[in-house]
Symmetry: C2
Subunit: 328 residues, 2 copies
């Protein structure tokens, strides 16, 4: 049941599947779905052997719910169910928002700086890099991949400066130094803050770093469950940069995967990863939970840019976020 | 049992796990492993409740087999087992051969041409592209990704010609036309022929395309089980190019995933995909099976290059393969 409730936070649409009967369990689940204002379809499956009480059906329909009877064995009603899903799915769930498409023109060149550290899977790339490359290509642009050490060499090979440089946040300082001032520069993590979360909210969250004092409580939340190795960014690097910025010890808590706490009271700041492995709805549920608890939330890339003193430069491609920064 | 036998073709090392007992089933499996000359460790698990007959143990050890007793529940013997695995794993299984590292120098630029077709997963890249990018970065080189339509534009942006252009085989003709003659050019599929299979064997296999006659039987084998959509390369494009080259109809058979046939007699040619989802050992088992049956084997990229008439150009980065071509 706990897992079902967690899953609701990442759903765009719910199918409440039952077999004829309708008792306390179904009632409670339905209430949870209605509380979350999730479009819901009640599916009475096994319609051959467990017929639905017509009165129950009418009652649910009166509540404004969509009811479909199916028989998964002989596929009766399945097409009707598919059609209902198509009708009820929120349009936002069918649109793939762009990562960099609104920041570049077709034919322009984007440089992606991708340090290869211990956490990168052997022989592969991490997900935000792959997704960003694909987004550049889908927008008819060109994508130059380099490690941070080869960045200057790469820029020297180009006839014209690139339209945009995106770096892994860990290489922010070196990249900011190597990229000419007039070239737009940001990080994968900031692009994902915008894609999965809400950049202006995260910018305001990062601003509260100035209010941290020695002893403040910071929650570092990571959406995936990668093995922590070496100089882990969430466990080692961000805590180190923040302690340096604040000038004293802080109390860090760490969560991974689905373990985002119900109770956020007592935290002074939540710092979330880029959220490449969870969806936009789930990230927004987490943001909403922080807002209800009155706890500011920001993300890895913004925290790093802030504590390294290159916040404005990293936000320069995003006028709205820059305005939110200046107003806060 | 069929699946266990298939799995043996892709193993570098076998653990034959049993619980005290040793009967006909274990004997038969062991014989299959010995036939394949696979380093094998016999693991007697559940050592708490199913003790091993000491005589059986000595007998296996006399056969030169490594025997370890473990108890997975309390982890007794697990460290000893790990150490045995480390000792017995063939060195080749621990080395990751390079995809392009021997073709380029640090600091050089490689262009990867990646058409985005229906078969590319939404928002992602296909595996050979990801692995090649990573290999370029691991070799301290720069990697420029473009779709085939933007290739000329991309080359115009560079101060110097790239060291190497790698294309998806489907865009071979357009890429060959857009890349200057003096720039080395090949395809992902040919790079993977070399990485996973044996490039010279595949080159000799491609040569036998000239011996195909209308009515010849061709097996198209794909290692993964991707959904076939639209103008599928193995189902539609390669058959079309080959028919055009041969000048008449051919009899095509298709297999996917693990379904590489035991009996290859009757085929005039086997055309294998790039094998990005299976390992080198498994690909070599398939090559060996073709050789035992006297059936030539080649791969997608080589077949396409051959039937499009750009075979020598696509092999130019590989002197050994070019020599094999000229000798055959």
């Amino acid at each position: 049941v706990q897992r079902s409730l967690q899953a609701m936070d990442s759903c765009d649409l719910a199918l409440l599947v039952c077999a004829g009967g309708w008792d306390g369990h179904e009632k409670r689940l339905l209430q949870q779905l209605l509380d979350r204002q999730l479009p819901t379809i009640v599916v009475f499956n096994k319609s051959d052997c467990c017929p639905v009480d017509p009165q129950k059906r009418r009652q649910l329909q009166k509540q404004g719910l969509n009811v479909v009877e199916t028989n998964a064995l002989n596929r009766r009603g399945i097409d009707q169910l598919k059609e209902k899903i198509r009708q009820l799915a929120p349009p936002s769930s069918l649109i793939h928002p762009t990562i960099v498409g609104d920041l570049i023109q077709p034919g322009q060149l984007v440089v992606l700086v991708t340090p290869i550290d211990l956490e990168a899977p052997t022989g592969r790339l991490i997900l935000p890099q792959v997704q960003t490359i694909r987004d550049v290509l889908d927008n008819d642009a060109l994508c130059l991949m380099v490690k941070e050490r080869e960045l200057r060499l790469a820029l020297d090979q180009l006839r014209h400066p690139p339209a945009l440089v995106v770096t892994d946040s860990q290489a922010f300082l070196k990249v900011a130094a190597d990229v000419p001032e007039q070239v737009a520069m940001t990080s994968f993590s900031i692009l994902f803050a915008r894609l999965k979360g809400d950049l202006c909210t995260f910018v305001r969250g990062a601003r509260t770093i100035d209010q941290l004092r020695p002893g403040s409580r910071v929650l570092v939340a990571e959406a995936c469950s990668h093995h922590v190795v070496g100089d882990d960014i969430g466990r080692v690097k961000i805590p180190r940069w923040l302690r340096q910025y604040v000038g004293g010890p802080l109390q860090f808590s760490h969560v991974q995967g689905q373990d985002f706490p119900e109770d956020l009271s007592g935290f002074d700041l939540v710092i979330h990863c880029g959220a490449c492995t969870i969806n936009r709805r789930q990230m927004h549920s987490r943001i909403a939970r922080c807002q209800r608890a009155g706890v500011p939330i920001t993300n890895y890339g913004l925290t790093i840019a802030y504590s390294l003193g290159i916040f404005e430069r990293a936000l320069q491609p995003f006028p709205d976020a820059l305005a939110a920064y200046r107003q806060s």
